[in-house]
């Protein structure tokens, strides 16, 4: 029943979207969304400029080569294009995880741990349980959800700040996964004659049904699979859940004000645990999308996965909006692949600096938005003033009176 209603909402939303598409584009300039996109673009341009200046300082000779690699590396070959898409999918998932939690007033810094546990569950399902890929993804979602639910439970029942619990469970999850992998010899590559003791075997090599479908495009690149479409689909689902359903509204209400949503009859404790579980499930699926592609294997390591932490900038750049996160994940993956192409002239870390400047400037976005608003408003007022002074029919006369007025005001000096 509930599912039926959900699909009806989806249908209505999509229909409304297409019906209003053209009027929306026509009114774009006056919309609030337009301003935030403009502000984001502004931040991106400044970020890239900072990257260029940095490269000019380090190696002036190669700086412009580095810049062109950064900007075009992701498109320079077919294989790079698919690599961008492959890198995007898990980033988008961890970005969605962090962004979803942000929307519901929680800071899920534990996406890294949920990603790791999810990845482990997917690999375990593929290698040991011999399950096909879709079951592995569900297992990953389950693992991530459990790992996300724990900080939620601590927060809801014991009032422990979710930031600290998430950090602790990042490490606990990492070491737990390491411990289990080390004690499950069938998962290690050495069991199958591999040399590297600290890596799992490629799940796809052991169980072909666990490989994400490549839609017949495998000939183009081994990186091509349905992962990116799954990620985009889930982003759209999250968008609909958050902005078109009562459930999403309740979750957001708890984020805005826990006390007043309690007063309105919303079960805040249940919602905190649910938000964290959903967030964790999203991050867990990200782990599955990385390792079921048949292009990388999991490493037994003592450091936390960077993909989980990169979900934070993805979510921030996309202003926690699921649709925005689709684009911000694509952008960050694109620029990261561009960064790989910059080597060996420049360290890939230049890209991280560019990204951090962009994120930092997005903190200024409020100021940018106000500036743009003021500029647009200013123009509108000037135009109105002109029309008033010159009469509605005077479209050929220059707007001198207004200008003169302004000059006069500024004159006494």
């Amino acid at each position: 029943m509930k599912i039926k209603a959900f699909f009806a909402t989806c249908h209505a939303t999509i229909k409304k979207f297409f019906v209003n598409l053209w009027p929306n584009i026509k009114n774009l300039k006056t919309k609030r969304g337009f301003n935030s996109i403009l502000a984001s673009l502004f931040s991106i341009i400044i970020g890239i400029l900072v990257g260029l200046i940095l490269m000019l300082i380090i190696k002036p000779k190669d700086a412009f080569y580095g810049l062109s690699m950064m900007m075009s590396g992701g498109l320079s070959s077919v294989s790079n294009i698919f690599q961008v898409l492959y890198t995007t999918a898990p980033l988008m998932m961890t970005g969605l995880a962090v962004g979803f939690a942000f929307k519901t007033g929680l800071f899920n810094i534990g996406a890294a741990g949920q990603y790791t546990v999810g990845a482990f569950c997917a690999i375990f399902g593929a290698i040991i349980l011999k399950m096909p890929w879709y079951v592995d993804i569900l297992l990953a979602a389950l693992g991530g959800a459990v790992w996300g639910a724990i900080p939620g439970i601590f927060k809801a029942l014991r009032n422990v700040n979710e930031v600290i619990t998430s950090i602790m469970f990042n490490w606990i999850g990492l070491f737990l996964v390491d411990l289990i992998i080390a004690n499950t010899p069938k998962m290690l590559s050495t069991f199958y004659g591999g040399a590297d003791q600290s890596r799992t075997v490629d799940p796809v090599a052991v169980n072909l049904s666990s490989k994400l479908p490549s839609l017949g495009m495998e000939r183009l690149s081994p990186y091509m699979n349905v992962g990116i479409f799954i990620a985009i689909f889930l982003a759209i689902v999250m968008y609909i859940v958050l902005s078109k359903t009562t459930f999403g509204y309740e979750l957001k209400a708890c984020g805005y004000n826990k006390e007043s949503s309690k007063y309105a009859g919303i079960n805040a404790k249940r919602n905190i645990i649910l938000s964290m579980s959903i967030s964790g499930a999203l991050a867990g699926i990200g782990g599955a999308l990385t390792y079921l592609a048949g292009t990388s294997t999991m490493q037994v390591t003592k450091s936390i996965s960077p993909i989980g932490f990169n979900g934070i900038p993805v979510a921030l750049l996309g202003t926690s909006n699921p649709i925005g996160i689709i684009f911000s994940a694509l952008f960050i993956a694109y620029i990261q692949i561009g960064g790989n192409a910059m080597q060996p002239e420049f360290a890939t870390e230049v890209i991280d600096i560019v990204i951090s400047v962009i994120i930092y400037l997005s903190a200024f976005s409020l100021v940018f938005k106000q500036l743009i608003d003021r500029y647009l408003l200013d123009r509108k007022h000037k135009k109105d003033a002109r029309d008033l002074l010159n009469g509605p029919t005077a479209n050929g006369t220059p707007p001198e009176p207004v200008e003169a007025e302004i000059v006069k005001e500024g004159a006494p000096k």
Partner: protein, 331 residues
């Protein structure tokens, strides 16, 4: 008995960065700003101090590996630590500016600084040392003292891996307690984190207080960064392995109070060093039949922290106004 000496020594060396950074975080949060950029600030502090150590070391000739101009070695260490504090303070200014002046979301500025610091560190180290040379090694003159081979218990605790950061840490603990609870400044700082509008109404400059709070935290995190680099032993490698976030957790664990923070950090460091030495302590279970039982010990500090937090959290009380940018016009 020797093994306990080693255990305590390792505990102190790991507790020092945690204490310094967690106390820094406390200053920031007590003034009302969540400083999530500690991890990044630590890296910047570690980088600057390591570079200072490097430049203060003779690179060639018969005196190779000693401080230049025959300077006393601990003076050089002090210069490095001061450099780290200044660098951390300056770096944290960016967070303060975004979150206080521009009233931006405090996690955004902090995250940006966290991403930038390790990248900047790698780019700068490469630019100075040449491509791919990612580590800056700590010169041999940095330790405060060395323990003899047949050291007794006390020599092991206080001489083995002792650095100038340890006495500085003790000073910082005392100073923090005095400043927070016994001075006018501390009272004002706390009032800005609890009720900035009320503080403003009696003439306290909330913005100035918050800037001060964040920059003190930056300076302490900078010192914590070099303390971590020294504790890690092998030199600076553009990372502090999550210690900045851990310090944040320790601060919440310590309930935003200096002495409780010190206890929390010591407890965490104890279990941490226990996990490092588990194999050489006879009475600890060795988990026969479990491969890589090291990972069990690595998990223990985090699990212990979680259990204690769950038991004590009902009493936990954050500064009321933390994380909320203060807007004078909304008073």
């Amino acid at each position: 008995m020797n093994i306990f000496g080693d255990l305590l020594s390792s505990m102190i060396v790991f507790a020092v960065p945690l204490i310094l950074v967690a106390l820094g975080a406390m200053f920031s949060e007590r003034s009302g700003t969540i400083n999530i950029a500690l991890e990044g600030i630590m890296i910047i502090g570690g980088l600057v101090a390591s570079l200072i150590f490097k430049f203060l070391t003779v690179q060639s000739g018969p005196l190779m590996g000693t401080p230049i101009w025959g300077l006393p070695s601990q003076l050089c260490v002090l210069i490095g630590i001061i450099g780290a504090a200044i660098a951390g303070g300056i770096y944290s200014f960016f967070l303060a500016f975004a979150s206080i002046r521009l009233k931006a979301d405090q996690t955004i500025g902090g995250t940006a600084l966290n991403i930038m610091a390790p990248a900047l560190a790698i780019v700068i180290t490469w630019a100075i040392q040449g491509q791919g040379q990612t580590a800056i090694y700590t010169p041999s003159w940095v330790p405060l003292a060395t323990a003899p081979m047949d050291a007794n218990f006390f020599e092991r605790v206080f001489l083995k891996s002792s650095y100038l950061t340890t006495p500085i840490c003790v000073l910082v603990i005392v100073a923090s307690w005095v400043i927070i609870y016994k001075t006018k400044f501390g009272l004002r700082l706390r009032s800005c984190g609890e009720n900035p509008a009320a503080a403003d109404s009696v003439g306290i400059n909330v913005y100035k207080m918050r800037y001060t709070g964040v920059m003190i935290s930056g300076a302490l995190a900078g010192i914590g960064g070099i303390a971590f680099t020294l504790a890690a032993g092998s030199g600076f490698a553009s990372t502090v392995a999550g210690y900045g976030f851990l310090a944040l957790a320790v601060m919440i664990f310590g309930n935003w109070q200096p002495l409780k923070i010190v206890l929390a950090a010591l407890l965490f460091a104890f279990f941490k060093s226990l996990s490092g030495m588990a194999s050489s302590i006879p009475f600890l279970p060795s988990f026969e039949g479990v491969k890589e039982s090291l990972y069990i010990y690595l998990m223990i500090p985090y699990i212990v922290t979680m259990i204690i937090l769950a038991l004590t959290s009902k009493k936990s009380r954050a500064p009321k106004a933390e994380g909320i940018p203060y807007d004078k016009s909304s008073r």
